[in-house]
C-alpha cells in the first residue's frame, strides 16, 4: 500500500508507481489509430510528394519534380495559393473583429443575452455544410435575395457568384457570417475579467475606449490568440462552400480555386496522387509558417497574467 506524506501545500506525494501494462491497454486504440491514420500516412505522403503516382502503377521517384512544377509551371497552383491567402487573411480578421465587437457589447450586461448569443451562434453550427452553401448560391445569384434587397434601395447588383471579382467575396461573407463561434469564446473570456478593474478605472476617470485598450485587450489577448490560431488553421482548409458555389471547378475564372479544391481535382479527379501529396505538404509548411509567425509575434501582444 502506498504511504502518503502530507506536504506544505496540502498535496500528497506518492512514490511513482508505473502502470505501463494498463496504460498500453487503454491507449491501444489511440496508438493504433495514430500510427495507421496519422503518422504512417504522413510519412507516406512525404514519400509520395517526391513521386509520380496514379494509384494503378507503382510510384515513380521524380525528386523535387512536383515542387518544381508547383512554382515553375503551374499557374493554377499559384492561383490557388493566392485565393486561399486572400480568403484567410481577409476573412479571419473580419470575423474576429465582428466577434469581439459584439461580444464586448453583449458582456456589458443586457437583457436577452442568451437569445442574442444563441441566434448569432446558430450560423456557425450549420456553416460548413453543403445545405448552407446551396443557400448561399441562391442568396448571391443574379435573382437572389441579396440583389432583391439591393433593388429596394435602387441598386441593380450583378450575379455575385458568377463574376470573377466578386465570387470570392461571397465566400468570405459566408465565413464572416459564422463569427458566432469565436464570439462565444470571447464572451467566456470577457467573463473572467474582474469587474473591479473597470470600476477602479472609472473612478480614475478612464474613458470607455481607454478601458477597452488598457484592460479588456491585454486581459483578453490570450483568448484572441487562441481564436486567431484556430481560425487560421480552419480557413486554410476550407472546402465545401467553394466546391458547391463553383460546381467543383473553382470558377468563375479560377477565382474560387481554393488550395483544398485544387488538391481535390489533382488527387481525386486526375488521380495525380504524388502531386496532391506534395500540395498537401506545401499547405502544412505554409500554414505552419503562418501559425509560427503568429506565435513569435504573440510575445509582443499576448499577456499571460503576471
Amino acid at each position: 500500500m502506498a504511504i502518503t506524506y502530507p506536504t506544505i501545500g496540502g498535496r500528497r506525494r506518492r512514490r511513482t508507481r508505473y502502470q505501463n501494462g494498463w496504460a498500453l491497454a487503454f491507449l491501444a486504440p489511440w496508438l493504433v489509430g495514430f500510427l495507421a491514420f496519422t503518422a504512417g500516412p504522413m510519412l507516406m505522403s512525404l514519400y509520395l510528394a517526391f513521386t509520380k503516382y496514379d494509384l494503378l502503377t507503382a510510384p515513380k521517384w521524380i525528386g523535387w519534380g512536383n515542387f518544381g512544377r508547383m512554382f515553375g509551371d503551374d499557374p493554377l497552383f499559384l492561383q490557388s495559393l493566392k485565393v486561399t491567402a486572400i480568403y484567410v487573411f481577409v476573412g479571419t480578421p473580419l470575423s474576429l473583429a465582428f466577434a469581439l465587437a459584439v461580444a464586448v457589447v453583449l458582456n456589458r450586461g443586457l437583457r436577452g443575452l442568451d437569445f442574442y448569443r444563441s441566434a448569432i451562434y446558430l450560423p456557425s453550427l450549420f456553416g460548413g455544410s453543403v445545405a448552407i452553401a446551396v443557400l448561399w448560391r441562391k442568396v448571391f445569384n443574379g435573382d437572389g435575395l441579396f440583389n432583391q434587397v439591393l433593388a429596394l434601395v435602387g441598386i441593380h447588383g450583378p450575379s455575385w457568384i458568377s463574376e470573377p471579382h466578386t465570387a470570392l467575396g461571397t465566400l468570405i461573407a459566408l465565413e464572416v457570417w459564422q463569427f458566432g463561434a469565436p464570439m462565444v469564446i470571447f464572451l467566456a473570456g470577457l467573463r473572467q475579467i474582474p469587474r473591479e478593474f473597470y470600476e477602479a478605472a472609472q473612478v480614475d476617470g478612464a474613458s470607455r475606449a481607454r478601458q477597452f485598450w488598457s484592460i479588456t485587450m491585454p486581459l483578453l489577448s490570450p483568448i484572441l490568440f487562441f481564436n486567431l490560431t484556430l481560425q487560421l488553421i480552419r480557413s486554410f482548409q476550407a472546402f465545401a462552400p467553394a466546391f458547391i458555389i463553383s460546381d467543383g471547378d473553382g470558377g468563375p475564372a479560377d477565382s474560387t480555386l481554393f488550395h483544398s479544391l485544387y488538391l481535390y481535382q489533382e488527387g481525386f479527379v486526375n488521380f495525380d496522387m504524388g502531386y496532391a501529396a506534395a500540395m498537401a505538404w506545401m499547405l502544412v509548411l505554409l500554414a505552419g509558417a503562418v501559425v509560427a509567425v503568429n506565435f513569435i509575434f504573440s510575445r509582443y501582444w499576448v499577456h499571460y497574467g503576471d
Binding site: Y18, Q19, W22, A23, L24, L27, P29, W30, V32, G33, F34, A36, F37, T38, G40, M44, L48, L55, V102, L106, R108, G109, L110, D114, I120, Y121, L122, S124, L125, F126, V130, A131, V134, W136, K138, V139, N141, D143, L145, W177, A181, V184, I185, A188, R191, Y198, L230, I233, F236, I244, G267, F268, A276, A277, A280, W281, L283, V284, A287, V291
Partner: protein
Amino acid sequence: MATERLTAIRDRVDSRPATSRWRPGRRLLAHVALVAVTLVMLYPLVWMVASSFKPTDEIFSQPGLIPRHFQPSNYAEGWKGVSTAFSIFIENSLFISVLAIVGNVISCSLAAYAFARLNFIGRRIAYATMLVTLMLPTHVTLVPQYILFNKLGWVNTFYPLFVPHFFAVDAFFVLLMVQFIRSLPRELDEAARLDGCSPWKTYRYIVFPLLRPALVTTIIFTFIWTYNDFFKQLIYLNDVQLFTVPLGLRQFLDSTGDSSWGPMLAMSTLALVPPLVLFVTFQRQIVDGVATSGLKG
C-alpha cells in the same frame, strides 16, 4: 465534483443581471444594433424556409417572406430526388454518424483515462504527440489514407468514414475528456483502488459514469462534424445508394442546376433539421462546449 465544475462553467457562460453601466439611451441603441445584427444573421435561414414553400418563379421575383402561392409540393418533389429517395441519404448519414459517435465515445474516453490518470513511461511524449495532431491539417493524411482504404477495398463503402473514429483520431475529444477527468477528485480513484478496483474497473464504474457531461459534448459535436462533412464522403462514396445528405444535395444541384429552386431549398431546409433539433435541445451544452474548448460547429 464534476457538478461543481459544471456549475463553474455555467456561471461563466450564464447571463449576468443587467447592470447600471449604461448611459441612458445607450442601452436602447445597443439593443437596436444587436437586433439588426441578429436579423442579418438569421434572415438568410428564414428566407430559405419561406422560399422552400414557394413556386420557383416566385422565389426570385418576390423578396417577401410569406408565399403567395403556398407550394408544399416542393418537399414531395425534392424528397423523390433525382434517382434515389432523399430518405436513403438521411438513413446513410445517420448510420455513419451513429457509428462515429460510438467509436469516439469508447476510444477517446479510454485514451483520456490513460493520459489523465495512469503513470507510464513516455506519457509526456505521447500526450504532446496527441496535442500536435490537433493542429495538423487533415489534407496531409488524405491522399495516403485514400490509398490505404483503396488497398483494403474500402472505397465505396462506409468503413473509411467511421472506422477511424474507433481509434481515437479526433484528438479534440481526447483533450476535452482529459481536462474533465483531471477536474475529478483523485480521492475517488484512490478509494476505488483501496477497495481493490483495477484501473479498468475504476474507469468503467467510477470515471466513465462521471464523464457524462463531456460525453454529451462529444456526442453532439461528433454528430455535427460527421453529418456536415463533405470532403471525405465525396471521395469515398460513388454509389448513389450509399450517398449521404451532402452528396444527395450536390447531386440534386448538379442535375437541376438553378432551374428548380423550390425543391432544392426544401431539401436544404430538411438537411438542416437534425442539427437544428440538436441545437434546440442541447443549446447549453453546445455553447459551453464552444466556450470551454474552442470546438466549432
